[in-house]
Amino acid sequence: MGSQGGFGQSKEFLDLIKSIGESRSKSEEDRIVLSEIETLRRRLSDPDIPKRKIKEYIVRLVYVEMLGHDASFGHIYAVKMTHDDNLLSKRTGYLAVTLFLNEDHDLIILIVNTIQKDLRSDNYLVVCAALTAVCRLINEETIPAVLPQVVELLGHPKEAVRKKAIMALHRFYQKSPGTVSHLVSNFRKKLCDNDPGVMGATLCPLFDLITTDVNSYKDLVISFVSILKQVAERRLPKTYDYHQMPAPFIQIKLLKILALLGSGDKQASEKMYTVVGDVFRKCDTTSNIGNAVLYECICCVSCIYPNTKLLEAAAESIAKFLKSDSHNLKYMGIDALGRLIKTSPDIAEQHQLAVIDCLEDPDDTLKRKTFELLYKMTKSSNVEVIVDRMIDYMISINDNHYKTEIASRCVELAEQFAPSNQWFIQTMNRVFEHAGDLVNIKVAHNLMRLIAEGFGEDDETADSQLRSSAVESYLRIMSEPKLPSVFLQVICWVLGEYGTADGKYSASYISGRLCDVAEAYSSDETVKAYAITALMKLHAFEMAAGRKIDMLPECQCLIEELSASHSTDLQQRAYELQSLVSLDRRAVESVMPADASCEDIEVDKELSFLDKHIQGAIEKGAQPYIPESERSGSLNISNLSIRDQPEVSTHSLRFEAYELPKPVAQPKPSIPQASSTELVPVPEPSYSRESTYAVPVPTVSSSVSGSTELKLRLDGVQKKWGKPTYGSSSTPDMPSQKSENGLSRNDDSSISMSRPQSSLDYRKPSVEITPEKQRLAASLFGASSKTERRTTSTHKAVRSTGQVAEKTQVAKPVDPPIAKATPVQPPPDLLDLGEPISTSSAPEVDPFKQLECLLDQSESASASSHTADNSSKLPDIMSLYSGMPTSGQTSGAVGPISVNGDHLVSPSEVGVIATPAGTSGPVQFSKGPNLKDALNKDARVRQMGVTPTSQNPNLFKDLLG
């Protein structure tokens, strides 16, 4: 009705809207906007723009930016328009500025003054406009400029002003809590404001305050409870009603606040039980908004100190949500289930089949939500099934953001609940294979460590079995194309360390495969480094075992390639390998001992074993070592270089790298005598990558330099493998835990002990459930005792699931949750509305079938009838059209249906139809007479050249139609 006054806009504006509305593609739209930018530039540069025009130009600028183009040339005009005397122009100016600029923009400073002036205005609408702008445009620095005025306005006679002043204060609190910390009491005061709008708004800042500091607000519990009580008892003005619910949005906010206040506080919670129970009962479960409040009740109940009655009510509501046909309600049900599961872990079991249905639903949103639920209910008895499913799902999605999340969840669950190392390794392999680049490198290190440490007990055969199976699986996986780098690193490491350990594969075979990897991923230096070190280990182990090993030609190639590499690290490794093969067996053994990755490397920091050597050297006339602190800078350099090549002058170029690690500097003086200098490795500061076990120092008399190597390497070792890192991750206890899994997870198993029976009970009634689904349900929810058994002997797994399936097939008389079309029991207090007489309304629908083509489909999407399919569809159409202009003659029919409709029709529609019959008549009745309006509007627009038949007829469609 507000548009009655005509459009009042210029032809140019109408043309712009028309062409934008009718444009068919983004490029067409861009063209229009670009030419509009030119027009506006011209118009705005005109020194005297007619006042009445400027507002329109600004709106056109808003269009330009909304459609994704820069309109910064016009920002200043929006700023200027905030000075306008005309209220509409002023507010439009403020609006445009908030849309164009962020609060830190330079132009904002020009507005602060205007805002200050407007806050003092006599016209409360001007004050409101300014306060709205304050919320968007004032930053931390400018808060003091308006703060006193805003505080003053908290006592303004107009409730609209008080409300906005509260929100402005809220904004300041969000921006910079410090500046308003002394004003926080105002929020408490305004909670008791006479106006429900102000009270409702005050809940927003209070919610934030309570979130950060619960304890200071415990005294308000009584106030919130009494407000909620009053709201639920319909004490607020009727205008706050929405679809027959009294102020539902305020109720929801209050429930959120109560949840915070009652969390873990029995005393506070006890004060809430009654009112939350009341709200529970009063919710209209047939409308969306009723269910929204209901959902919030469930959240509240699951947060506060548990109350049996409320938990029961919550469980009941969840059951209704899950049984609903509406995906929205199912989604809410799954979410609510995830919340309630913390307090009553058994509840999921009742809904196992509904949950599995959601898991298999094609709707991705629902699926994700269900995975979230599964994540929350994972325990050692169902971890295998859940993680398996999660990985399958992870493989199927493309969204990297979510893929990362789900991969890390898989890892987390696997680390926490893994029933066996074997399973853990297989699971990790899958995660790495499909999302390797998305998971944390630490996970890879954990995996390597696990394989190296094995079971952590003295069960050597089991350990070697584990390793053999890892090697086996990696040799298989290796041939897959495009493996993630992290995964390849793990593979190379394991193959190098254990590839030949069980004698199944020859060293040359493994070497070949490693060379293939290095070749296939030639751009990945880390992988190449891992590969060549693995090769070195293979050779060392072979030599140590006294077997002759010939260097493969491709391996030779690789060494040659890498020794010319740009990466000094790769060069280093290549040279090391090269010199290692020329060593004798004993040296190799001590340099690269087999299966020593878990050995602790003890470092003699004092290097006491050199004492004798130094003694000898000094006796022969060598200079004694001067600690670094006693040396001057320049002396330092000369000293260092002299050590290596005493004859070289200190000023000439040095070709070897400077030694970085300080401790190493100490033994160096003795090196010249130690061995042929060309073999002395360049001290490698970068050697921290993968060096746990390897001591690949190619010096013959390796005792000296070997120990320095050890020293160096230790840095890398500690980073990855040292105690500190282990301690922080959750895995370390896994190996030891696994064999006694059933016992170590006492808490879980004790719960699951009581479970099988109830879950079987529940499964009894199933009729039309596919065996796969039953099996899945059994493995996810019940049958914990069986799965528990499975953990002790892994290879029984198949058989035990088989058992489960058998059992479920034996006992399956009645159909539980997924049973179709079980009418939802309306809550007792709604009974007087009676069961919906769906059949009676069905025939009335026919006249409207012709309108079906116009049907707003999204409406039917959200349609969530709890009744049988056929009856729900028809009233739905009814509901959609009852509001149409054409339905003038049906207005009689609308009444009765809406009463029934309460139960039948999509909740959202209920309001639209139901309201005319019910409370706030005047509004919706305008729909009937509005036919004229609509025609008028239509005619007017046609005159302007926009016709419904032209390119975009949708522009004319009634949104609520």
């Binding site: 507000g2 269009y63 609408l125 709008g197 995906h327 949103t365 999204s858 949708n954």
Partner: protein, 143 residues
């Protein structure tokens, strides 16, 4: 902050109204609108009206040719937001009378004003239709 943004986008993916409650640059807005609209438009009517996108959720609802999309924090009550959208449409309907896409296009600023009355600092502050519309009607009268 519960509501991050309110968008109105038509079936062709053209933006009809955009209000962000946290500052995004023009490019970010463009990219976000493109991504979200593509996601939502691809969904069928049976699927639920919620989509997870990055670290927030989008609650959307379709009216005739126009999609209303609201981005919210992850722990928001989605059903309530869905009804908030409906309340917004009902409010616009009361103001414009049989509101259609064209009404919003011709009165973009007024649609914004209504939203400003309903949502401040990303919170729903006003849900009474008469409280929302009174200032706007007064403003119209005065000018």
């Amino acid at each position: 902050m519960t509501i991050r943004f309110v968008l109105m986008v038509n079936k062709q993916g053209q933006t009809r109204l955009a209000q962000y409650y946290e500052y995004l640059t023009l490019e970010e807005r463009r990219a976000l609108e493109g991504e979200i609209v593509r996601k939502c438009l691809a969904r069928t009517e049976q699927q639920c009206s919620f989509v997870e996108h990055r670290n927030y959720k989008v609650v959307y609802r379709r009216y005739a040719s126009l999609f209303f999309l609201v981005g919210v924090d992850n722990d928001e009550n989605e059903l309530a937001i869905l009804e908030f959208i409906h309340l917004l449409v009902e409010t616009m309907d009361r103001h414009f009378g049989n509101v259609c896409e064209l009404d919003i296009m011709f009165h973009l600023e007024k649609a914004h004003f209504m939203l400003e009355e309903m949502v401040m600092n990303g919170c729903i502050v006003e849900t009474s239709k008469s409280n929302i519309l009174t200032p706007i009607q007064l403003m119209e009268k005065s000018s």
